[in-house]
Symmetry: C2
Subunit: 213 residues, 2 copies
């Protein structure tokens, strides 16, 4: 199965690194992966975009053509890439203003606030986002994501970044409890309800004292 | 004009970073660029491959289909990717054993030895290689490469990496003085001779005391 990710936001948010880590984690799981960073007109105006394609098969075309997951950390990125989303799920930061004109399934999670307030470092928002993508897509295992994070982040920041990843996984559980996500993915109303219960339970567990360590 | 690069070697040689810096330098020159890292069967067996496409136009297909420049830092990478080279130039490290079976134009330059001995740090071989690619291709300006190197390498290592880049540019001059390169690129025998003279002069100038600073 081929899974396509598009990670978008502003320059300096570290989305290229998040894409690299996601691709490397998939490889640790014995999958194929291609990571692409495009620069130029489409990535200008303060926007940044990285893509990852993960597949059990060979990857002929390395770019996302109909992303399964769009991450948008800024309103600009959301408007630019959300408007061309098809079947996939849009994951926006809570600071993004949603638009009725964008019809794709959308969940909103506090990625930037989690990095700044729970982890205490804005710069790890990319790794929080990575945890969200990993938790929602399961395209790479949690163990492999942890390993890939440790091998790619600057020395001395491994612990901080692993906390950020864990916080991201908890946010993914929260996202799965949102109506939009359940409607789109649950097989039946009963399954949706059970999904939401599990997700809330998991989310609560991760927030026992409001801090991630 | 579209210029395609394939950077190959072993994992851990930092070719992904070299590709990222090359793409970012092209952007500083107001060109378009796409940087791709593929993982999976083709990149296994200890080999690593990163690609960069730079163009004045929009880039429709982001992968190298007929690379203009193949960098191969290991014999394995040279054999894997050299055998599928067409019109482009192969740039190998001096430690690579050349094969008669690979018919592409080839130059051999001491990238790894320059990093280890002249700069004193093996790990900057990727940035030496970047200087070689920049000097040979001119797909990104030297000023932009310097700026991109400074913004992407770990804090505190900027000076070291700028020395590595400069050493790479000097190696590019040496490469241009090699017969294979001249035969392929010079418009006339007189031009070839003049190219070689200039290159040797530049190379000597960079080696005044055998150290790059």
């Amino acid at each position: 199965m081929r899974v396509e990710f598009r990670l978008s936001g502003s320059g300096g948010q570290g989305l290229l690194l998040a894409g690299i880590v996601l691709a490397e984690a998939a490889i640790l799981d014995d999958k194929n992966a291609v990571q692409t960073q495009s620069y130029g007109p489409e990535a200008r105006g303060g926007s940044s975009k990285a893509e990852v394609v993960i597949s059990d098969e060979d990857i002929d075309y390395p770019k996302a053509t109909d992303p399964d997951y769009l991450l948008a950390l800024t309103t600009d990125a959301y408007r630019t890439y959300g408007s061309i989303m098809g079947k996939g799920l849009v994951i926006v930061d809570s600071s993004v203003r949603l638009s009725d004109e964008i019809k794709a399934r959308t969940v909103s999670v506090p990625i930037l606030a989690t990095a700044a307030e729970k982890i205490g470092k804005k710069v790890v928002a990319n790794i929080v986002a990575l945890g969200v993508l990993g938790g929602l897509s399961k395209a790479a295992s949690r163990e492999s994501l942890e390993e890939a994070v440790q091998s790619r982040v600057p020395k001395g920041t491994e612990g901080l970044n692993l906390s950020a990843l864990r916080a991201g996984f908890d946010l993914a559980d929260l996202a799965m409890a949102q109506p939009d996500y359940r409607r789109a993915t649950a097989a039946s109303p009963e399954a949706a309800l059970e999904d939401a219960r599990t997700a809330r339970r998991n989310a609560r567990r991760g927030e026992n004292d409001g801090r991630y360590r």
